[in-house]
Amino acid sequence: MTFRTKLFWIFTLAMLFAVGLIAAGVTIVTRQAFDELNRQHSDALIAQFQKEFARRQEDVVHRVRGIAEEESTTRMAVALNLPKGDASVYVNDASGVSRSHQLDLLDFVSNDGSIISSAEWPARFGYKLDWITRPEDWATVGPFLMKMDTAEGPALGLMSVAKVPVADKSIYVVGGERLGKEFLASLVLPAGMRALLYLNLDPSFQSANLIQTSDEAVDAERFAPLVEKERRQPGEQTAKIDWTADAASAEVFHALPLQGRQRDLLGVLLVGSSQRDAVTLERRILWLALGVVALGLLIGLLMSWWAAARVTRPVRKLAEGAHKVAEGNWSARVDVRSGGEIGQLARAFNQMTDQLVDQRERLVQAERVAAWREVARRLAHELKNPLFPLQTTVENLQRAKERHPDEFEEVFRESTGILLAEIENLKKIVGRFSDFAKMPRPELLPVSLNEVVRAVVKLFEAQFGAVGRPPITPELHLEEDLPVIQADSTLLTRAVENLVLNAMDAMPAGGVIMFRTTSEEEGAEVHLEISDTGTGLTPEECERLFTPYYTTKLHGTGLGLAIVQSVVSDHGGRISVESETGVGTSFHVHLPLKPPPHPRPVNFPATLEENEAADVTPAAEEEKKEA
């Protein structure tokens, strides 16, 4: 992840966090405001309901008193006061009177509490309402809630009692309005509100006791906790019911206890307030906020991108400069005009590259001197051995001429033979140096690496089993389907020969030399492994093995493996060595099927490359001289 990307994400996340925090704050504050508004709304509605309820109570009282004051009721009371007063005559009166006075519940009750006529349960005549005969001044008792028995079962009634006093035997008019579906439907409630009534007729919550105005199916069990709470502790309670997963379906219900004369809980009025409007409005605000957030986020993203780009541009330039330096372009410079730390960093970078160039030049000079010294040392070492016999031979000739002229001819012949041999030796030494300096460019043709290996093995067969030296056994593990590669077979053969010679030198006591060819899994390369069971190399020797003129042998030139590496590199391949002292050494050569157009530069020390480029290497010098 780039610095710019990191910076972009940091800016973005910071902005997201800030925007989220603000959005959450706005949402919470909005919700609280709506909750408060809802509460006030519900309170107002409950107050309205209570007012309506009080009005209905007064209305019931008024109507019951009206019935009691009617002439027909008085006549009934008078008739029942007579010695042979017959109550059966009036058994059906209550129904008609209740209809005319729009009362759901109406009973005419005799002085002893027996029902004369009942509108809500006509068949109940003759039975007694004991509570009505208790000493009580019904004129001062206001309306009250009461559980009434009807033909359909128990019902909750908003009741009033009026006494019709006639002589000794009064009669009572017990009338009221049933708190049921019609009562709920008659309540004037604003849109979004509804009222339900739970009749507390059973010891535990019963769904069938829940009354609502509409025929819409409702999951009555959802009210059970609120009703049970009300039963345990009568008072105003509130609960929110989520009908579905949609928050807009929620309703807040206020439970109002409906208590009888003995403070017994007869019913619970549930005034529900729909949350749909509030939730819809809240959602609108939320969506608006989300829109603003999204827009802000988009702008923020663009600004973050721009800011990140602006901040990271100098850093990117610095990175590019560093990359160029890493690639070898030490003269790379960074053009940063900004001030501050980035500017200082850029200036320091430029200063650093200047110093690097300066130091590299000095290093090159030092390495060049060192290389020349090394070449001189090797040359001196190589040339010193042949020169010494030359010197002694010439001195022998001189001495023979002076001291033994008669033997001079013989000495001369011997000496010239020695001189010629040593000169030939010198030419060989010089030739090897010249060969290394004149490594030709490979001429690429389709070549089978297996064939190259087999040819080399065949070439060395005689030497492997030469008389007077311990035998060396070649082992070939060549992959049959090895692909053909584009290579210069001559150079490749020379490289393999050098590796074989190297292996043979490493096994003075004989051993096994193993050749293995394989193709890489990707199919883009072939692999040649040449292993010996020789003395092995130390890690330090392994590190310097491919350095030209480095050798561990007494008479080696130190150019064999350098040539191998040069050939492999010219083919776009690579060579590596694994060795363990006392066990053996393995060389691994990886060659591409087709070398790249511009093979990698030979990984010679810079000093030698430059020497070659400058054509000032000892071999070149010699070639020049020869020319």
Binding site: A87, S88, V89, P122, A123, F125, G126, Y127, A151
Partner: protein
Amino acid sequence: MKRTLLPRLAIISLASAFVLSAIPARTARRPRYGGTLRVEIGPAMSSLDPAVGAANPEDAAAKEQLDALVYDHRNADGAWAGDVGSGAFRVTAWEAGKRASLAANDDYHGGRPFVDSIEIGLGRSARERLLDLELNKTDFAEIAPEQARIAADRGVRISRSQPDELLALVFPIAGDGKDDVRVREAIARAVDRAAIVNFILQKEGEPAGGLLPQWSSGTAFLFSTAADARGAKEIWSQIAGSPRLVLGYDSADSLEKSVAERVVVNAREAGISLALKNTAMGAPTDMRLMRLRMASREPRLALAGFLERLAPMTGIDEASLSNAASPQEIYDRERAIVESYRVIPLVWLPQVYGLSARVRDWKVPAAGENWPLADIWLEEAP
């Protein structure tokens, strides 16, 4: 002796004077031919053909009365037979379910009826009949017993038969645990028959303890009609599981509805769980409220008529009594049925008729008899 003779002579003289004074009035009201008798009935029957079945017992009863006017004899099965119009009247107009017009059959072997014709309004409700009687728009109509008191208060001329229709709770054979005699006995004890007569029937009728009325069998007083809520409660408490019972009734019959509701109230007071269901819905019920009309004033025949109707439902012994059955045998049979509690008699209902003032020589038909419309005559309008 003289002291007591004088008052006796005085009484005899007064009675003779009253009888002598009545003779001219009676001779002044001799039967008169002519006029159209206006009749209203509740059922809206579709046909007078005896072969066509009636929709319900009320329709069947009304059809029986009209068929008796237009057919002259019954066949061996007891159904009316012969040609339409072979009876005292001929059908001159027929609108199914609405009205019928009958004309006097001059050739009727029993003699021509006094009235020239009868206009019959079909499908008239009890309220309409009562109002029409009050307004003198009809001469003859049946009145529900519970409305007789109101009708009389409103000045309607009322005629009552002996109580000959039994309203009873009938328990069909049930295969479940509810078919327990204790269940039936508890309900029988719970019902307050007197309250039904006094309040619902407005004192028209009698509480029924047996299957035959006192005026017919003379043994009805031996059956208890008193309510025993405490006894019912005690019996009910011994029944395991407290079954929930369903009482079926005909909701179109206001009297049945009122009585059924009262039975539920009584049962509830005794702790018995009882619910109502309209039998018109066809749903099975544990018991049914039924009207059973006496087929005859003779106790044996009346009991046989009840058995014929109830035995298939209740499984009680249908074997009829012999013609020579003694009153004791009839009573024993009646007692056995009552004590099985398959049939719980509730009340005896009379047939109540409303008559206009111009109807003369009306004789209340006894149980099993038809309306004697051919024998009445109409007083000429003043």
